[in-house]
C-alpha cells in the first residue's frame, strides 16, 4: 500500500504578502495586489496592471540575510524566501533535512537578470549567464536550505508547480524519498509581459475571471512551496500535519499549443482522474480553486469542463487570480497554498470583479467571502500552454 502524503509546511510570497500570514490577511480583507508596475521597468508599466511582489531584489536579499551578485535572479530570491518559510513551518530541524528532496518549477528562470544584462556583459557581471537556466533557481534554493539528496526542476508552463508537487508525491509514494519540498517560482520580466501582450490576452484593467465581459489576464509573480511527507516520516510530529494530498492527475488536451479545446477535454480528464485517484466521488468535492485566468478561451473551456464533470452538482468555486495575478510557473502552488488556507480556515475567498456569467456557459462563482463553510476536500486546477493540464486535491485530516 503506498503511503499517504501529508502537507506539513507551507510558504508563500506574492503580490498580496511576503508570507502565509500576510497573504491570508489580504485574502480575508479582500485586498488584491494588482496595480501599476513599479519594480519592473518597461514601456508597458502604466498600461498593463500586474501582480508584483512589492519589494526590490536587494530588499528580498535583505530579508534572506544574504549578499547577492548578478547571478541571483529574482526568481531564485522569491523561491528562497517561500521555501524557507515552508520548512520553518514544518518544524524540520537542520540536520534532518539531509534526507529530503526538492522539486521546483519555473517558466522564466533567470530571465529577469538576463534581459537586463546580456547586451552589456562585463567580467564583473558575466556570472549572470549561469543563473539564466531553469535549474539554477532550484539549485540556489537547495544550497540555501542545505538539501542535497535529490534536486530536480520541472518546466511545463502554467501547470509547472502542480506537476512539481505531483512528482514529489510520486517519489514519496514509491518510497524514493520520505520528504520533498515541492513548488515553484516565477518573477515578472519584459520577456513574458511582451510575449503575452503579443498574444493579445492581457487585460488593460483588473482581470475578471468567468465574467461575460472578461478581457484577459493580469500577469503576476511569486513563489510558494509545500513540504510533503510520507505518513512514516511524520510520526511524532502529527501536530504539523496541515492536510493530506489526497489525489492528483495530469492529462494532455492534445488540441493546440496555447488554446484549450472547446469541450475542455484536457481539463475534464485531469479533474476526473484526480478525483478517481483520490478514491473520491464527485460529490466529495466541497470547493474548487479554478485556474480562471480571465481569458476568453480558458474561462469558457474550464467552465465547459466543470459543467461536464459536475453538472448541476457543481461545488462552490472561485478564481483567486484577481488577487495575485497569473503567476505562471508558480500559479499551481500559490493557489494550492490559498486552497490550503481555505481548508484550514473553512473560508472561501471570492472571485473578484464578477458581474455577469459567460453567455455560452453560465456558471456563477463565489462572489462574497464565505466563512464557517464545512470543507473537507478542495480541488485546484492549473492548465498550461502545450495542453498540459493538472489537478490536485487536498483533504482535511
Amino acid at each position: 500500500m503506498p503511503p499517504k502524503v501529508f502537507v506539513t509546511g507551507i510558504g508563500i510570497v506574492s503580490a498580496i504578502g511576503l508570507n502565509v500570514s500576510e497573504n491570508f490577511s489580504s485574502l480575508k480583507s479582500l485586498k488584491h495586489g494588482i496595480g501599476v508596475l513599479k519594480n519592473l521597468r518597461t514601456i508597458h508599466s502604466p498600461s498593463l496592471p500586474s501582480g508584483e511582489v512589492k519589494l526590490s531584489n536587494s530588499e528580498l536579499a535583505e530579508i534572506l540575510g544574504i549578499r547577492i551578485g548578478p547571478d541571483f535572479s529574482r526568481t531564485a530570491l522569491l523561491g528562497m524566501i517561500a521555501a524557507r518559510e515552508a520548512l520553518q513551518n514544518a518544524g524540520i530541524e537542520n540536520n534532518e533535512r539531509r534526507k529530503m528532496g526538492i522539486v521546483s518549477a519555473t517558466s522564466v528562470g533567470g530571465m529577469d537578470r538576463t534581459e537586463l544584462l546580456y547586451r552589456d556583459i562585463t567580467p564583473e557581471n558575466q556570472n549572470f549567464i549561469a543563473s539564466h537556466v531553469c535549474g539554477d533557481s532550484t539549485e540556489k534554493i537547495a544550497d540555501f536550505l542545505q538539501i542535497t539528496d535529490f534536486v530536480s526542476t520541472i518546466s511545463t508552463a502554467c501547470s509547472s508547480s502542480l506537476n512539481a508537487i505531483m512528482a514529489g508525491a510520486e517519489m514519496i509514494k514509491n518510497n524514493l524519498l520520505d520528504r520533498v519540498i515541492a513548488g515553484g517560482s516565477d518573477a515578472l520580466s519584459k520577456f513574458t509581459l511582451n510575449g503575452f501582450n503579443s498574444l493579445m490576452i492581457l487585460d488593460k484593467n483588473h482581470n475578471r475571471p468567468f465574467d461575460a465581459e472578461r478581457k484577459g489576464l493580469n500577469l503576476g509573480e511569486g513563489a510558494a512551496y509545500l513540504v510533503l511527507e510520507s505518513e512514516n516520516a511524520v510520526k511524532g510530529r502529527e501536530d504539523k500535519i496541515c492536510c493530506e494530498l489526497k489525489g492528483y492527475a495530469n492529462a494532455n488536451d492534445a488540441y493546440h499549443q496555447t488554446a484549450s479545446s472547446n469541450n475542455g477535454e484536457g481539463a475534464f480528464r485531469a479533474m476526473s482522474k484526480a478525483i478517481q485517484h483520490g478514491g473520491l466521488n464527485i460529490s466529495d468535492i466541497d470547493y474548487i480553486n479554478a485556474h480562471g485566468t480571465g481569458t476568453i478561451n480558458n474561462d469558457f473551456t474550464e467552465a465547459v469542463a466543470l459543467n461536464r464533470l459536475f453538472g448541476k452538482d457543481l461545488p462552490l468555486f472561485s478564481s483567486t487570480k484577481p488577487f495575485t495575478g497569473h503567476t505562471l510557473g508558480a500559479a499551481g502552488v500559490i493557489e494550492s497554498v490559498i486552497s490550503i488556507l481555505t481548508l484550514r480556515n473553512k473560508m472561501i475567498f471570492p472571485n473578484l470583479n464578477f458581474c455577469k456569467p459567460i453567455l455560452e456557459m453560465p456558471l456563477v462563482p463565489v462572489t462574497e467571502r464565505m466563512e464557517n463553510v464545512p470543507i473537507k476536500n478542495v480541488l485546484t486546477n492549473s492548465f498550461g500552454f502545450g495542453g498540459n493540464d493538472s489537478t490536485l486535491i487536498f483533504s482535511a485530516v
Partner: protein
C-alpha cells in the same frame, strides 16, 4: 478610375499572398495555390488563432493599421479579398 483601382487591388492581393506565405511559414504553397476569395481559416488553409495574431502584426508592421480587438480581426481576415479591401479602405 476603375482600371487603376483594379491594377492596384491585383498588386495588393499578390503582395498579401506572398506575405501570408512567408509570415505563416506556409512552405509548400505558391501564390497560385491561395484562392483570393476562399476562407483562410477553418477550411481553406486551416489557419489558427496564432496565425490570426501574426496577421494583426503584419497589418501594423507593413500597412500601419492597428487592430486593437482580435475579434475584429476575424472579419477582416476572412479571405485575402477582404484583407485587401480593408487595407485599401484604411490606408
Amino acid at each position: 478610375m476603375p482600371i487603376f483601382k483594379n491594377i492596384y487591388m491585383e498588386a495588393l492581393i499578390k503582395k498579401l499572398k506572398t506575405e501570408i506565405i512567408e509570415i505563416l511559414n506556409l512552405e509548400d504553397l505558391e501564390i497560385d495555390d491561395i484562392n483570393t476569395d476562399d476562407p483562410l481559416f477553418n477550411e481553406g488553409l486551416g489557419l489558427d488563432s496564432i496565425d490570426a495574431l501574426e496577421l494583426i502584426v503584419l497589418m501594423e508592421k507593413e500597412y500601419g493599421i492597428k487592430i486593437e480587438d482580435p475579434a475584429e480581426g476575424k472579419k477582416i481576415f476572412h479571405s485575402v479579398k477582404t484583407m485587401a479591401e480593408f487595407i485599401s479602405k484604411n490606408q
